[in-house]
Symmetry: C2
Subunit: 251 residues, 2 copies
């Protein structure tokens, strides 16, 4: 089994991809499923999202430049969305980084959304699905590498390596593992990341705290369909609890 870490998408992906956008899409996604959501569409386009919401009766989630667009039900603050019952609902969420990275990885057999918040769940699901490779792919910030996702990749790589002792991390895996040693507190990496600085300027530092919590969710959202919209694709994710919630990986 290969274990690969890419600080941004690079090349082809054939087996399992864990897409990492810890601030905030991949932290929010497992929270929504914990709260009862049935399916989540990710999309970078406001117009396509609005149209899909009208056609399919979806909740509209997300933000642009820190503001909740007109007519949206909620932003994409994990602090806020933890309090919202989503039972039986479906939603579409716009955000910047994850939806723009999805086209580069959607060709893989399995695409999961991962963060600190669902670390154990996404690792268990990844190990269950993978036959050749688990690729941890960071979304970065504005198309460039960012520290928050890189540290999550390091955390997941370190834990996966315990389960795959024969796997030598490829790509930036070793660099991420080195970084981990200097960040005993995941919150610190989020704090200094560009994404984290942007949220702090919006007085959303509470979201960093939620995003730094480890393995609070047993949901590993998984890409189940891609449909073409007018301006952008819609990526549908579903999640079931991990099959082995009672067997946490060793810390």
């Amino acid at each position: 089994m290969r274990l690969r870490v890419d600080l941004l998408p690079r090349g082809e992906y054939g087996d399992v991809v864990v897409l990492i956008d810890v601030l905030r899409s991949c932290t929010v996604a497992p929270i929504l499923f914990d709260n009862g959501l049935k399916e989540l569409y990710l999309c970078p386009s406001l117009r396509t999202s609005r149209k899909a919401a009208a056609e399919k009766g979806l909740l509209l989630l997300g933000e642009r430049g820190g503001l909740v667009p007109e007519g949206f039900n909620y932003g994409n603050s994990p602090t806020e969305l933890r309090q919202v019952n989503m039972a039986g609902r479906s939603a579409v969420m716009i955000s910047e980084n994850a939806p723009k990275t999805l086209p580069a990885v959607a060709g893989a057999k399995h695409v999961l959304l991962g963060s600190f918040y669902n670390a154990d769940a996404v690792m268990a699901r990844g190990l269950e699905l993978a036959t050749e490779e688990i690729a941890l792919v960071c979304c970065g910030f504005g198309g460039e590498e960012d520290l928050d996702d890189v540290l999550v990749a390091g955390y997941l790589a370190g834990r996966l390596k315990q389960r795959l002792p024969e796997a030598s991390p490829l790509g930036a895996g070793w660099m991420c593992l080195s970084l981990l040693k200097t960040f005993p507190d995941p919150l610190e990496a989020l704090w200094y990341s560009r994404a984290g600085q942007a949220l702090r300027r919006l007085e959303l530092a509470g979201d960093l705290v939620v995003a730094s919590l480890i393995s609070r969710s047993d949901k590993a959202p998984r890409l189940s369909a891609v449909t073409e919209g007018e301006r952008a694709s819609l990526y549908r994710f579903e999640a079931v609890p991990t099959p082995h919630p009672a067997v946490p990986l060793a810390h």
Copy 2:
């Protein structure tokens, strides 16, 4: 003026490239010029290096897997080479990372070798030469990103940004700047890097200490010619003291 940071070479380079391989080629190179070397050839091939040395009367420097090859005059330990008078000599040095990265950047107008050891010099020279862009390009370790070069890039990017306040770092620039905040001591990043770990296993930790010294040399080695050898290219570097040694950049 653009300021760009690439954790590995990526795409085309047109103006100034500062190539970073802090452990150890780009630390050793300014040391050799400080000690009187006239010209330095970098080359990845043992055979091509030996042939060039025989033809041109060059000193043979470098190592393979931590061992000094048969017939070589010296390894490439900065600790050792600081003690060696090179007055009037020329040398060819084999190493792994910098020579293998050179083909990706050699198309730029100006290619300089940079590290902590010649930080002020390489920045002054880069600012003098650049008309459009200074690209800080890390060599990494074995073709993958490594922490040591990334931290040097962050250090140089932070200092260059003081001189280019209008420049917004492109590529991984912001991530490197974030990392700097968590590494007040450059030695720590070298220590945890893969390259650093490899040197520590060879009982060469002293080389990390030399490589962590900041701006001890006023030489910015600059690519002056590329010649095709039998198995690999030879990259010739020359260095003159920086034009403004008495105007150090503000720390």
